[in-house]
């Protein structure tokens, strides 16, 4: 049961993030909601690689008596998570730059007031 707690945390993070994107009116809160969803998905990817009783997957630092690759935590999900974090940083920078330009144009951060493109 204790090994399922990270997965429950993933579901809670994604639900909280979706709630923030859908129901909040401030643009900055929507941007934060997307960052929370991204944190949830990254947590999911890292937790996939866990093997009970394993050590960090650094090949030249293993203690002498462990067998290879029996008790290593999987390294591929760590690489996937790293790439995803970098992409998240780029998307966050882009969204914040767009927010600054929107504020300069409309002088408000309320999403319901910037909707000039109807239908």
């Amino acid at each position: 049961m204790i090994y399922n707690i990270p997965y429950i945390a993933v579901i809670i993070l994604i639900v909280v993030g979706l709630y923030a994107v859908v129901f909040k009116r401030n643009i900055i809160k929507m941007v934060m909601g997307i960052t929370i969803i991204e944190s949830g998905v990254n947590l999911f990817l890292v937790t996939l690689g866990y093997r009970a009783g394993g050590v960090a997957p650094i090949f030249t630092n293993l203690p002498e008596e462990r067998q290879i690759p029996g008790q290593l935590v999987l390294p591929i999900p760590q690489a996937l998570t790293l790439t995803s974090i970098v992409i998240g940083v780029a998307v966050l920078a882009l969204m914040l730059a767009l927010t600054i330009q929107i504020y300069r144009q409309y002088k408000t951060l309320d999403v319901t007031k910037i909707r000039r493109l109807k239908e």
């Binding site: 929507m30 997307i34 991204e38 999911f44 992409i87 969204m95 767009l98 000039r116």
Partner: protein
């Protein structure tokens, strides 16, 4: 020559990427040098893609392993699973690569004379080359996580391009909507990749396709992948970002985003036909019927919303939404029909329509851009009687209009007749709705043509001139391709579309090319 073709999958990505980061350094010299450099790079890449296409049509699937000692060494040593990132190129991939590179070249030709007085243009060309790299990478790769990375590159770069005119509030709103929706979609794709990796410990598409077993988690992953990729492809009811993004971006950016949308549609086809290909005859009929239903909804929404628009680019954008529905009902019919022989015809129609739609809608957007450049007006009520002053633009708009509506002898007719024939045999109502929507599109665009070009000349439009030569050359390239595809559809179908459809219908070829027939 042979070694160039062997390394061409890597070179197709590397050369535009290299050029994308040299462009800011070149623009300090002279802006003409930068324009010419980007044109030369894109032309060279297109030539390389044509050479590679010839080789694939002759010799079958080609694979390229990054970082190995041989480009085809998928299993080094005694491994039984493929290691490293592998690019796998079959008929469908090279078909989409040709589409993407053609559109990127035309967009560069157009934008070299559309933007006269703006600054920030060196970043514009960097971003345009990055969109090209992202699209080509999405279409060439055989690794699921690599597909996600290129998907994100494309969406970030195209969002920055959509917001290029930062002093218009509508462009910023459209770009913000686009980036929120597309990043949530991409995160769902990443979750589905996590599900599949956790089940089968493989990220390679061929290795996954070999071991997929349709458990409950696999079905959840399929739903997540399809939902996110159809959202990026602009299929109803997730199409909301598309009219805003197409309507408010600069026109050359719009055709690049159209090509990126078709690359996401390629992702839908790849997931349905190859990744879950083992259940192609058994389990995918439900998915096929869902796609047909969504496609009909898309056609209906696209065409009816196009009736009530007042802005020229938004009308064409809703017509583009409707056209995507045609491709989706073609693909859905092929899935739902199973082993009957009209499934192949439906798939041929759908795949051919991808190329035709990009050309037609691209030409219409370029014409709309020319009108905005010449008259600085966007509203249809303030434009009229332009045919006396802008003769070439009128002819191009006429060609684009007839092609979109599916009139013979242009290329829209060739693909739409295949779709009508095959969907009629699945269920006649689908075909009837598709034909009626086509006629409605013709009516809408004839009305726009009449009100824009014919009729009396409005007083504030007395001194518009014809647009500069670069834009005319770009529109002429697209119009020539439309006419050629329309006059010789059989030749085009045989050479380009048939290998793509054969690659989709036989997922075992894809799997055996990597796993060595084991």
């Amino acid at each position: 020559m042979n070694s160039i073709i062997t390394h061409s999958p890597a070179l197709l990505i590397a050369i535009p990427l290299f050029a994308a980061f040299i462009t800011p350094l070149l623009s300090r010299i002279h802006r003409r040098a930068r324009d010419g450099f980007v044109l030369i790079v894109l032309a060279a890449t297109e030539l390389l893609a044509l050479l590679l296409a010839q080789d694939i049509y002759a010799n079958g699937i080609r694979k390229y392993v990054f970082g190995a000692t041989l480009p085809s060494l998928t299993h080094p040593g005694t491994m039984s699973i493929p290691v490293r990132i592998i690019f796998e190129i079959d008929g469908l991939s090279i078909f989409m690569v040709l589409i993407s590179l053609t559109i990127a070249f035309v967009a560069t030709v157009y934008s070299s004379s559309f933007f006269k007085k703006e600054d920030g243009l060196d970043r514009y060309y960097t971003l345009l080359l990055l969109v090209t790299v992202g699209m080509v990478g999405m279409e060439l790769t055989g690794d699921l996580f690599n597909f996600f990375v290129f998907l994100e590159i494309t969406s970030i770069a195209s969002c920055a391009l959509i917001a290029f005119w930062v002093d218009r509030g509508e462009s910023l709103e459209a770009a913000f909507k686009y980036i929120v929706i597309s990043s949530i979609g991409a995160l769902f794709v990443l979750m589905a990749i996590g599900f599949l990796y956790g089940q089968y410990d493989a990220l390679n598409i061929a290795a996954l396709a070999n071991s997929i077993q349709f458990t409950f988690i696999d079905k959840v992953a399929l739903v997540l992948l399809l939902a996110a990729l159809t959202m990026k492809a602009g299929i109803a009811p997730m199409h909301m970002w598309l009219p805003d993004a197409y309507g408010e971006a600069p026109p050359s950016v719009t055709i690049a985003v159209v090509a990126a949308t078709q690359a996401s549609l390629y992702g839908v086809l790849r997931v349905c036909f190859t990744l879950y290909g083992k259940g192609l005859r058994l389990n995918m009929a439900a998915v096929g019927w869902t796609l047909v239903g969504l496609g009909l909804l898309t056609i209906f929404i696209g065409v009816t919303m196009a009736l009530v628009q007042r802005s020229l680019t938004r009308t064409i954008a809703f017509a583009a939404v409707g056209e995507i529905g045609y491709m989706v009902i073609g693909a859905g019919t092929a899935l739902a029909a199973g082993a009957q022989n009209f499934a192949t015809v439906a798939l041929k129609g759908g795949v051919f329509h991808i190329f035709n739609d990009v050309l037609d809608i691209g030409l219409l957007f370029l014409v709309a851009g020319a009108i905005i450049y010449a008259t600085k007006e966007r509203d249809l009520n303030n434009l009229g009687g332009l045919a006396k002053r802008m003769k070439y633009t009128t002819v191009f708009f006429l060609i684009g209009l007839l092609a979109v509506a599916g009139m013979p002898p242009l290329n829209g007719f060739a693909s739409k007749i295949l779709i009508y024939e095959s969907t009629y045999q699945l269920n006649p109502i689908i075909s009837i709705i598709a034909i009626l929507s086509s006629i409605l599109l013709l009516a809408i665009f004839v009305k726009i043509f009449y009100s824009l070009f014919l009729g009396p000349e409005l007083p504030h439009l007395r001194d518009v001139k014809e647009v500069p030569k670069g834009m005319l050359v770009a529109m002429a390239i697209l119009a020539t391709l439309i006419i050629i595809f329309g006059l010789f559809p059989g030749y085009v179908l045989q050479t380009i579309v048939d290998p793509a459809v054969a690659a989709l219908s036989n997922p075992t070829n894809y799997i055996n090319a990597i796993l060595g027939g084991a």
